[in-house]
């Protein structure tokens, strides 16, 4: 995969990382799964340029990226809708375009949402760690976040027929949660709050967690449970509640274990909502199945 670079980063914006589908399967070693936060958007960008859906691509944050083309290549932008300018001329978001040496590409600030994905035909060739090229901001595994001057080399193009074009879809502002595993640690009032209360996305949110602020989710005091939860394994989408009662949704770079109770887990279909939520956005929590009698404790026979 070595060779002259195809692309040189001029300005990586607020944060641009290389992401694929991450490295699941190593959590028992303390290795976060990592990978694209908005997986459907990564898959879409790759389909637009004829790549396998999980090929390594760029994940931008709010302010896009500017890069210069050194060797001819083909790219497409998906995820958060934004302007795409090639040498100052507008090009459509959501469709592939070929660019030649010397072209300067500006992927603009997100018009809505937070994270855009830039896939190049052939994918970005970068050394894998545990089977993935993803940057993990918690553990530091994978390539460092992009900096100005970084060179990207692409792999050989795939023979897959590319998809024609995509149109932006608007994401809802609701997270549907399955209760548990520690819903029984919380008061009835707090459990009811998850059935429709609205929270504000905090500025400290990142690839590790979406920090929500709003009415506190409080622990029961009368349940005979220990004062603190023994360290427990954590899943993607877990809504962990620290003692201040302000929920944190665990995203791709989340720690593999945690010490606070998890009131519920966000449905996979709603994870892109988390990926595209901006600080200040208001997000509503809802139970995925409102009528479950005993949260977190579905019984077998």
């Amino acid at each position: 995969m070595k060779g002259a670079a195809h692309v040189v980063v001029l300005d990586p914006g607020a944060l641009t990382t290389i992401q694929d589908l991450g490295r699941p399967g190593h959590a028992h070693l303390g290795v976060p799964r990592s990978g694209a936060l908005d997986v459907p958007a990564l898959r879409l960008a790759n389909r637009l340029v004829g790549n396998p859906e999980g090929a390594p691509a760029l994940e931008t944050t709010l302010t896009g990226i500017r890069f210069e083309v050194r060797r001819g290549c083909r790219f497409a932008v998906s995820g958060a809708p934004c302007s795409v300018r090639i040498d100052g001329r507008d090009h459509a978001w959501g469709s592939a375009v070929s660019v030649g040496p010397g072209a300067v590409v500006q992927v603009g600030a997100a018009a809505a949402g937070l994270r855009s994905y830039v896939a190049f035909a052939g994918g970005i060739a970068v050394e894998q760690v545990l089977g993935s090229s993803s940057t993990d901001l918690l553990s530091g595994l994978g390539p460092a976040p992009l900096a100005a001057g970084d060179e990207l080399t692409l792999g050989p193009s795939y023979a897959e027929p590319p998809m024609a074009t995509a149109i932006p879809t608007s994401l809802g502002r609701v997270l549907h949660l399955d209760p548990g595993p520690r819903a029984d640690w919380f008061t009835e009032e707090s459990l009811a709050r998850v059935g429709g209360e609205t929270y504000e996305v905090g500025a400290a949110s990142n690839r590790i967690g979406l920090r929500l602020s709003g009415p506190a989710l409080e622990r029961r005091r009368d349940n005979g449970l220990p004062a603190e939860l023994p360290t427990e394994p954590m899943v993607l989408g877990a809504v962990q509640v620290p003692p201040n009662g302000q929920p944190v949704v665990f995203l791709a770079d989340h720690p593999t274990t945690g010490g606070y109770p998890v009131i519920g887990v966000v449905r996979g279909a709603d994870l892109p909502v988390c990926a595209q939520a901006r600080p200040g956005d208001r997000i509503t929590l809802r139970w995925a199945e409102p009528a479950r009698a005993e949260p977190g404790r579905p019984r077998g026979s």
């Binding site: 070693l29 394994p233 593999t256 404790r297």
Partner: protein, 206 residues
């Protein structure tokens, strides 16, 4: 085994203590393919099975499983990993104070135990080693350090561990080792994995 649902694709197996975690993990790891699990992740009192296509079915099958004592006593094929350690940590006296003994006795006791890695977490390759006698739990530092050097041998709660890389940390530091805990250039990057047996061996002070 009793398990509860965690979201759409995972279940959490509950254990009474760390010894049961170690035994349950060994059994569940061996049967991960049969259960359809992508991840089998132990922690302090639970073992997570993640990436399941049929979590309801897994909860039901697990309810018929009984943990056999022989699972717990099955010897680890990997043998005992020795960690050559210089007992030169800045918190040796603090641990001695908490244990009501001398620093020399802390060094002796720490080496006398054959530990088992109960689980990993906090950072890649950070292994929570269990086996210290009851009553020798250690309180974390009230004021966590902003930078703990890689290779620091440390104690907290009922565990001992080694920092694989420099990081912030609140554990009490009793020594250092030059053993590399995490090597990305290897197919198996972690030196210590859940179930590994570990012994600390004092090296000469230099």
């Amino acid at each position: 085994m009793e398990a509860r649902r965690v979201g759409e694709h995972a279940v959490l197996v509950e254990c009474v203590d760390l010894a049961e975690v170690v035994a349950s993990y060994a059994l569940l790891r061996a049967r991960a393919a049969q259960l359809g699990a992508v991840e089998v992740v132990p922690a302090a009192r639970t073992v997570l099975l993640d990436g399941l296509t049929d979590p309801v079915g897994v909860v039901e099958s697990l309810s018929t499983w009984v943990l056999d004592q022989s699972d717990a006593e099955a010897p680890e094929p990997g043998g005992v990993v020795e960690i050559p350690t210089r007992y030169d940590g800045p918190d040796l006296d603090e641990v001695a104070r908490q244990w009501g003994t001398s620093a020399a006795e802390v060094v002796r006791i720490h080496q006398s135990v054959e530990y088992t890695v109960a689980f990993c977490g906090f950072a890649p390759g950070f292994a929570y080693c269990t086996g210290l006698p009851a009553g020798l739990e250690v309180s974390r530092r009230a004021d966590p350090r902003r930078a703990v050097p890689a290779g620091s041998v440390a104690l907290a709660g009922e565990f001992t561990s080694i920092y694989p890389s420099a990081s912030p940390g609140g554990w009490q530091l009793i020594g250092t080792t030059e053993v590399e805990l995490w090597r990305e250039d290897l197919d198996e990057p972690a030196l210590l994995v859940p179930g590994s047996l570990v012994r600390f061996v004092a090296t000469e002070m230099r």
